[in-house]
Each structure stands twice: as structure tokens, then as C-alpha cells.
């Protein structure tokens, strides 16, 4: 594999890893607050459809983005209502919302555009356009780093950079602010937070809302950044891979970055079977590469890559008094 191919694959890794990263960080807020969220997939799908539809109608990707966030938020709030207010089973609620999203996105897209459940192709202002980072031209003559900067780091859409900035921001919020401390506490021991006079319900709802917003970004990136328009089931299990990455990262923001980029790298590789067989000399079947993130997650869960311990109060509704 030559340097140019490597750069191509790394660039693709970032493009494929970004929706995973956004969804993974989304899940991180929710799960750190003690609300399991299997429904990342559904929220992303809902956001992808809303963004695709509204961007196609208005011609503005920014209004589309807002619609995407709103669509994702609506699902997040139902999940919050089911798991916080009515103390329902969080796993079941997530599974249910994924089904609803999978169906309703097609129903709405079909009702609006009658194009077999897709939204019309986006172009120009209707989608996110690549940004060339400063000095990309000037530095391209520098050996090794120049092409890396120009081809891997530069030339992505804005949400990619937003996603990367969200990693240190999430770290800072989680470990350096009062809100973050309380958020982590409510996921480990909600009773102690309650005793300190802080509302468990409000904290958990804020976490669920942040999750909704971030899934909205992830979905908007899918339909207006990575691709140009929404198609049925376009998230194709990315919500579950993000969940897998979250466990792989042991619910920590920086590790989430590495895990999602690793999984993005695997997706990029599975599109280039020629590169793999040239580099290591054996043919690896495509399905094996597709399954690798899931296998890695199972290994992580099994404790072969250090122990993955979820937030202690995760999945349990908090009952204030008996």
C-alpha cells in the first residue's frame, strides 16, 4: 500500500467514523446519567429523514439541520418520558422507538415526495459542503505532513470538525464542571444526588436532551454530509455500532474518539478489499470485515480488552420514595 492510498483510506475513515463518533458521544451522556439508550439508531434515522426532507423543501441545509435535531429530540423525549417519568423498561423503549423510526421515516418521506421512501437528492446549499482548512494548498508541498493535512484533515464538512471538537468539550463538561459531576453521580448512585438536593429527574432529562441533539447532528450528517438525501434504513445499524464503540471505549470521551475512528477505519477498509489482499497477501471476505466491530465489542465485553464496567445505576428507574 502506497502513502497515497493510505491517505485516501484515512480520509474515508474520518468520514465514516464521524456519525459513529457523534452517536457515541450522544449515548455517552445518556448512559453516564443512568439511562440506557438502545435507540441511538432510531434517533439518527429520524434526524436523517427530517434533515433530508426539510433541506430538500427549503433548499437550506441549516434549516434541515434544525429539523433533524427536532426530529431526534422528539424521539429522545418519548424515551425520557418512558424511562424517567413512567419508570418503564429502558431497553424495551429503545427497541420500540427503533422500530417506529424505521417505519415512520419511510412513511413520511413517501407521503412528502412519493419517491419510494427516499427524499430528493440534495445539492448546493441543500447539503453540507467540504471545507478546505487554511494553508492546505501552501503546506501540500511539505513531505509526508503536507499531503496528510490536505487529504486527511482538510476537506471535510463542518459537522466532522464539530464532532472532533465535541470530544474535548465532552471531557471538560464531564470531568471539570458541576453539571458533569452530577451527571456522572446520577448514573452511579442517584439516591446520593437526590439526598444532596439535586433533581434526579431534571438531570436525567437534560442528559436525554443532549443525547437527542447529538443524534440529530449524527443523522443530519448522514443525509446531508456523507450522502445527498435520505434513503430507507440509511443508518444501517450505525446506532448499534456507536453503542458498541461506547462500550469499547468504556464510556469515556477520548476513548470514544479512538474507538469510533477504529470502526470507521474498518468500514473504509471493507470498501477496499484490493488494498487488504495486496497488503497482507490473503483475501479477507467482506462480511468478515463488516462483522469485525461487533466481534471486537463482544471481546471487549468479555473483558479481554480490560474490563468494561457500565455506570452502576444504568437501566434502573429511580424511585424517589416508597
Amino acid at each position: 500500500m502506497d502513502y497515497d492510498t493510505l491517505l485516501q483510506i484515512l480520509g474515508a475513515s474520518i468520514r465514516f467514523g464521524t456519525p459513529l463518533l457523534l452517536a457515541c458521544l450522544a449515548g455517552l451522556y445518556s448512559e453516564r446519567a443512568g439511562i440506557f439508550d438502545i435507540g441511538l439508531e432510531g434517533k439518527m434515522l429520524m434526524a436523517a429523514m427530517s434533515t433530508g426532507a426539510v433541506a430538500a423543501i427549503t433548499g437550506s441545509v441549516w434549516i434541515g439541520l434544525l429539523a433533524g435535531i427536532a426530529g431526534s429530540l422528539a424521539f429522545a423525549l418519548v424515551h425520557g418520558m418512558a424511562s424517567i417519568t413512567f419508570r418503564g423498561n429502558q431497553l424495551i423503549s429503545g427497541v420500540a422507538l427503533n422500530f417506529v423510526a424505521s417505519g415512520i421515516t419511510v412513511l413520511i418521506a413517501q407521503a412528502l415526495f412519493r419517491q419510494g421512501g427516499r427524499t430528493p437528492p440534495l445539492s448546493g446549499e441543500g447539503r453540507f459542503n467540504p471545507i478546505t482548512l487554511p494553508f492546505a494548498e501552501a503546506l501540500s508541498s511539505v513531505p509526508l505532513f503536507g499531503p496528510f493535512y490536505a487529504k486527511v484533515l482538510s476537506g471535510h464538512v463542518i459537522l466532522v470538525y464539530v464532532a472532533f471538537l465535541l470530544v474535548p468539550l465532552t471531557w471538560w463538561v464531564l470531568y471539570r464542571t458541576r453539571f458533569g459531576l452530577r451527571l456522572r453521580a446520577v448514573g452511579e448512585n442517584p439516591a446520593s444526588v437526590d439526598t444532596a438536593g439535586v433533581s434526579v429527574v431534571r438531570l436525567r432529562f437534560s442528559a436525554v436532551i443532549i443525547t437527542g441533539v447529538l443524534c440529530g447532528l449524527a443523522g443530519a450528517y448522514m443525509s446531508a454530509g456523507l450522502q445527498a438525501g435520505f434513503g430507507r434504513e440509511m443508518t444501517a445499524g450505525r446506532g448499534y455500532i456507536a453503542l458498541a464503540a461506547l462500550i469499547f471505549a468504556k464510556w469515556r470521551p477520548w476513548a470514544a474518539l479512538w474507538a469510533t475512528m477504529l470502526f470507521g477505519f474498518l468500514s473504509a477498509l471493507s470498501l477496499r478489499p484490493d488494498v487488504i489482499s495486496n497488503t497482507i497477501g490473503i483475501d479477507i471476505p467482506g462480511p468478515a470485515l463488516d462483522a469485525l466491530p461487533y466481534v471486537l465489542t463482544v471481546l471487549a465485553l468479555a473483558g479481554f480488552v480490560g474490563r468494561a464496567i457500565p455506570p452502576r445505576a444504568g437501566g434502573e428507574p429511580y424511585v424517589k420514595e416508597r
Partner: protein, 364 residues
Amino acid sequence: MTRLPRWADLVLVPLISLLLAAIFSAIVLLAIGQSPMEAMKVMVEGAVGSPYAWGYTLYYATSFIFTGLAVTVAFHGSLFNIGGEGQAQLGGLGVALVCLSINWPHWALALPAAMIGAALFGAAWAAIPAYLQAKRGSHIVITTIMFNYIASALMIYLLVNVLRPAGQMDPASANFPEGTALPTLHEIPGLSLIFTKQVPANVTFFIALICAYLVWVLLWRTRLGYEIRAFGKSEKAAAYAGISPFRIIMVAMLISGGLSGLMAINNVMGESGRLLQNASEGAGFIGIAVALMGRNHPVGVILAAILFGFLFQGGAELGLWTSIPIELRTVVQGLVILFTGALDQMVRMMLGLVFRPSLAKGAA
């Protein structure tokens, strides 16, 4: 919160949840500019309006009974098995390997062998998540989801590279020998008077009913079933009573995986006669809804499976005869799971308000 009478909890709560799901589905239909009444008419006609329609509804219901029972058994051991889909796909692999292994002379010989193959492969696919849960404490929900994806990747690989006969384009196995074709309801003497046309529902339906009875016996009439339920209620108490958590997790998940796998004799052996890609068509997931709706009791599971058979077949009819996309059934399915499984507490709270005055009167 008011405690509900037992009958209200068992009958009223699921019915009201169902009603809520129906109301929201109707709202969705209105919102996309369709008529809910019209849709209902098409669904009823196409799914229960004739013996021919019932032949399809019961065919789907058969698969859902298996997957619903699978979720039920695991649920009683407080294990949430989302892996029914992958286990059903692997069950299909087991059926295919058995059916293709020799030239079976008669279906009555092939069926037991295929059932063993289906159950073994389904159980094997549940065994790894079960072991990881029991020994390593890895959350079974996540591992079974992962195993669904690994299963579908594995099946794609096997169908494209291993099982596909030379010269065939679509990723599917060879056709099974004639001797493995299961009699459909149309071909069973007596029933053929009712089902005058060829229908996909086959003898597997009766096997599903027998399995439901056996699951009831297992859960409420055997020591093992008692241990599973005791473990499900309180792991600590069960361990203190000498019940081995490792054994219960493994056994409950193996039975659950075996039941999911068994559905393959309905779709793979009974209907398509060869192994197709994604043969289970989401039945593994519908099993979750069926178990929740059926309140984790075999009788409830059978009723809920028929209801979902109706939804599945009716939804297909909608896709065929109206401009409503077939995806409506996914929405309805999701809403049923949401209201029966996650918002059940809300329904109870609502009912609690209704029952409070009558109880107070009874006390006075």
C-alpha cells in the same frame, strides 16, 4: 399508586396498550393523508377475511409463536434475549444442512431431524452470549444484538461463498429434496376442506402449539422452570436457595435460542424450501413484541402471535392494494412494543385513577 385487580392487570392493561397503539397508528395514517378505516378494511379482508387469508396469517403466527416463546423463557429468567433474529437465522442454517445432507424419503423422517438441526444451531448461537453473561457479566442485551449482526454477516458469507450452487446468481442455497416438503394446511386431510387453495401455513403450526404447551409445562410444572422463575425474580435469593446462576442462565438461554431456531422449520423448510438470505424477516424481533403483548405466558403468546400474524399479513396487503407503504407494520409493531413494554406503567397509572373510587366504595 392504586394496585389494580388481577384481571385488570392481565387483560385490561394489554388491551388498553393495544388500543393506544392503534389510536397512534391511526393518527400516523391521518397525518400522511390516508384513511385509517380504509386501511383497517383492507387489512381485515386480506388477513382474516377468508381461509386463504388465514393461511397466511397463521403462517406468520407460527413463526412468531416460536420467537415469542423464546423471549418468554428468557424473560422469566430476567434475561432479555434480543438475539432471536440471529438465532432464527442460524436455525435456518441448521435446517438447510440437515435437509441437504441426504435425499430424504419422506417429510415425517426429515422433520424431526430438521427440528434437531434448527434447535441445535439456534441454541449454539445463544450459547456464547449466555456464557459471557454467566461467567463474565457481559450484558446479554448488547451481546445478543452484536450476535445478530455477526449472524447476518456469517449467513451472507455462507450463502454467497459456500452454500450457493454453481451457476446460480442469487445468494441462496440449493433447493431441498422433494422429500423434505412439509404438508401445508391445504394438503392435510380434513383441513383441506377449509383451506381449498394452497397456503403457506403448514404442519409447523401444530408443532408451535405443542411447543407452547411444553413451555407452559416447563415453566410452571417442573423444578427447572421453578428455578428459572425464582432466579428471574431474585438472583440473590435463588443463589441462596442453592440454585446455580450459571446453570440457569445457560439453560434458559439455550432453550430460548433453540425455540428461536425452531422457527426455521416453518419458513425455511415449510415455505421456501431452500435457505434464503434474511429468511427470518424480522420475526426474531417481533418475538419481543409478542412476548410483551402476551404477558410472558404461552397462551398470551399464541394470541399475540396471531394478532401480529394479522398485522404482518394485513400490512403486506396494504403494500399490495393501497398507496400506504408496507413499513406501516413496522410502525405499528414499534408502537405496540412501546405501549405494552415501556409505557405499561403509564397505562396502570391511568387505570389506577379509574379503579380508585370503586375500590374505596368496596371498602366502605
